[in-house]
């Protein structure tokens, strides 16, 4: 349970300034606002041969672009802060397994990201006057997708913190690996927004769950190599 202490430390430091959380939320808000300016009028047009409004087609992609881009901000700072004043060395000296550091970071990153998503979703609903048909299903999809994003993102954030161009490198190496999560989450989100249920997206849900499990387990095994020196 040492990872809980590490997560608690991170969140305590974060909520003192709320620096990261504020920028994540505002960034996600800005992405949604820009989309609403760009597609504003066209989004309400009804496409009769698909029996959908244009906003129905765009909504899942817009949401996940906002989530992943804003989440990327949090991830790139998650280990960068530890580089200052030798905090990472202190963490490594903790009488705990190395994977506890990873699990703690996963937990704190996930909390920040869920808070950001909780703030973004209502703004999206307001700006596009959208009504979500299957909210519980949507929440499950968002949780699974976010976990996949965080599991891989935290590992690669630890990996890039040692490199010269860390802020630029992280998105470049993270997105190719994330493609399965983003594709499945976008498709499943689209179905949930349009009143589908889990039986319509069983394939996507399986991929999300399998991805989450595999990368959580693999990250436990390889994480120690990313921070050892």
């Amino acid at each position: 349970m040492k990872f809980l202490q590490i997560a608690k430390k991170d969140l305590k430091a974060e909520f003192r300034t709320k620096q990261m959380l504020n920028s994540m939320v505002i960034f996600a808000l800005l992405v949604i606002v820009i989309f609403s300016f760009a597609f504003g009028n066209e989004a309400t047009i009804f496409v009769s041969n698909l029996n959908k409004k244009i906003v129905d087609l765009l909504a899942p992609g817009m949401l996940w672009i906002a989530f992943t881009f804003a989440g990327m901000l949090g991830l790139s700072r998650s280990f960068a802060g530890e580089k200052e004043e030798g905090c990472l060395e202190g963490l490594k000296l903790c009488p705990a397994d190395r994977s506890a550091i990873y699990n703690g970071k996963v937990l704190s990153n996930a909390v920040l990201m869920f808070l950001m998503e909780m703030a973004t979703l209502p703004i999206f609903v307001v700006l596009f006057s959208y009504d979500i048909k299957n909210l519980p299903g949507l929440i499950v999809v968002i949780i699974l997708g976010t976990l996949g994003f965080i599991f891989v993102g935290t590992l690669l954030s630890a990996l890039t913190v040692n490199t010269r161009t860390r802020e630029i490198l992280l998105p470049v190496i993270l997105f190719p690996v994330l493609i399965p999560v983003i594709l499945s989450a976008v498709t499943a989100t689209g179905t949930m927004l349009a009143n589908g249920d889990f039986s319509d997206v069983s394939g996507e849900m399986q991929i999300l769950v399998v991805y989450d499990i595999i990368f959580f387990v693999v990250a436990q095994m390889v994480f120690e190599y990313t921070i050892e020196d």
Binding site: L169, I179, F215, Y225
Partner: protein, 232 residues
């Protein structure tokens, strides 16, 4: 020197396979039913072998990354670097030759709902970012360690990407021959022998390039060693 024999064999086989490709290999498509120029099928004879060679190179990156993390021996790092570079080149050639073939056969360079196209593109992108990581770290030991971690992560995500792209594009499961259902261009008989010959030629080509790249890297190490010794 057994290495030299491999190099010579590669050169001969690739030349022969080129000759066979342009002058001998049959086109198993009925000219009447084929879209575009039926000669475009000849691309298939090297398109498939280089695609599979790229996949094999990436598998080598995966295995040698694991071996590096276990043993911390530099030769495994050199092997993953060489295999990744060769694999990226081969994957790029696969995309290019596939696009040219697609333009002729389907009328479009890129068909975004096709599974194999997207999977090859994802593979290419993942290993491109692998090379980016290598570029971004200067210390050799750290570079080897971090890129080995990514070599493992990247390879694991490939089969999941394949599955997710398949769900994402369930409308058109199989366009590129050979299809398991027997659609597309049926592969069999003489075509198969030519194809197998090309497989051998291009596997050897990939192996030769990887070996040459490793030699290259060893020489660079030696040069650096000498520089350090003489304080240059």
């Amino acid at each position: 020197m057994p290495k030299k024999i491999v190099y010579a064999l590669t050169a001969i086989l690739v030349l022969i396979s080129m000759y066979l490709l342009f002058f001998v290999a049959p086109i198993p498509i009925d000219p009447g039913s084929a879209a575009g120029d039926p000669n475009n099928f000849k691309i298939f004879y090297f398109h498939l072998p280089i695609a599979i060679s790229a996949y094999l190179s990436f598998a080598i990156v995966f295995v040698s990354s694991i071996l590096y993390l276990r043993s911390k021996k530099q030769k495994w790092d050199m092997l993953s670097l060489s295999a990744a570079e060769v694999g990226v080149v081969f994957a790029f050639l696969t995309l290019v030759s596939g696009s040219i073939w697609g333009k002729s056969a389907w009328g479009a360079y890129w068909v975004s709902w096709d599974v194999r196209l997207n999977t090859s593109l994802i593979l290419f992108l993942i290993y491109l970012s692998y090379l980016m990581i290598r570029q971004a770290v200067e210390e050799p030991e750290k570079r080897a360690r971090l890129s080995a971690v990514f070599g493992i992560i990247g390879f694991i995500s490939v089969p999941i990407s394949f599955l997710s792209v398949r769900f994402y594009s369930k409308m058109h499961p199989c366009v590129v021959p050979p299809c398991p259902s027997g659609g597309g261009g049926g592969i069999g008989g003489v075509v198969l022998y030519y194809l197998l010959f090309n497989f051998v030629a291009y596997f050897l080509l990939a192996a030769t390039l990887i070996m040459l790249r490793m030699d290259n890297e060893e020489l660079r190490e030696k040069a650096n060693e000498l520089k350090r010794k003489n304080n240059l």
